[in-house]
Amino acid sequence: MIHIKNNEQMAMMLKAGRITGEAILKAREHIKEGVSTKEIDNIIHDYIIRCGATPTFLGYGGFPGSACISLNDEIIHGIPKKDRILQEGDIVKIDTGACYRGFNGDSANTFGVGKISAEAQALIDVTKESFFRGIEFAKSGNRIGDIGFAICDYASSRGYGVVRQYVGHGVGAELHEDPEVPNFGTPHRGQRLYTNMTLAIEPMINIGTYDVKVLRDNWTVVTADGSLSAHYEHSVAITDGEPILLTKVE
């Protein structure tokens, strides 16, 4: 069921989104060679708690961290570990969520550790740009397929693989609400968008194939061919005009 938020609920979504966005910014300051993914997770956890919110991911489906921290060929759902140390040239994906007074924010971004390769930087840039191509169509009256088509068209035309198995979703009182928001689709198809719908739009783009596999920890999703992957996500509120990026903080 799709939940259309009222103004009061939207205010909570904005607050939750701001905390989520700030937590990622906070973590970004600490991304450098020698830091463990568990340390980054702790920074995010502490920040969210200090803001009076709760980390949505912690315990969600049994997930053991407050943030999914995935390196290089890991696409999403990487488990933070003390012995997983960032190395120069790695690309690290941080995906987290905060719940404030019952409403959730969900956001992710990809960062380089130190100096990264040109192909890794290009991947990050294309992933981010594909998100913004997608949200050009995230307005009332359009359909979910319009967003997915724009994302897929932009990334695929540059030779990248767009992950199909994992998709964006509605977000609100629950972390995962209807509708599903695939990063591929057919224009003018799928659920119609209405004002005050809130969606987590999250392109996951691979340098190689879009095929994925799940590691034996049953969480970490990696590219099937071992190629690099990037992830960019914001919680977005649909309006009649430009969408509001709930989790984007400058």
Partner: protein
């Protein structure tokens, strides 16, 4: 945190469309957006049926040990037949 839209490997599922609508299968994997389905008889591990994952519905899951055997590729057709028998019995209860 992204949502997985593919059905879980090791799921006992019913076909919703086509000439096999209503038949039970076990999902042993996904290939090119298609579900790989077996029943141990007409559709064996060596020749799984491919079907759009939107055209099946997962009804229950196999025990963890069987799911693990599917993942490592060591499950046999006779175990598939046996597990489907158990699943049918459970569903008819």
């Amino acid at each position: 945190m992204s949502e997985n839209i593919y059905p879980s490997v090791g799921g006992v599922c019913v076909s919703l469309t086509g000439h096999d609508a209503g038949m039970l299968f076990i999902l042993i994997g996904m290939r090119n957006d298609k579900a790989l389905l077996v029943n141990g008889k007409q559709r064996k591990i060596s020749n799984p049926k491919t079907k759009n994952y939107k055209h099946i519905s997962i009804l229950s899951m196999l025990p963890d040990c069987s799911v693990e055997r599917i993942k490592v590729g060591s499950i046999k057709d006779n175990e598939i037949i046996h597990q489907l028998k158990i699943a049918k019995r459970e569903l008819l209860k």
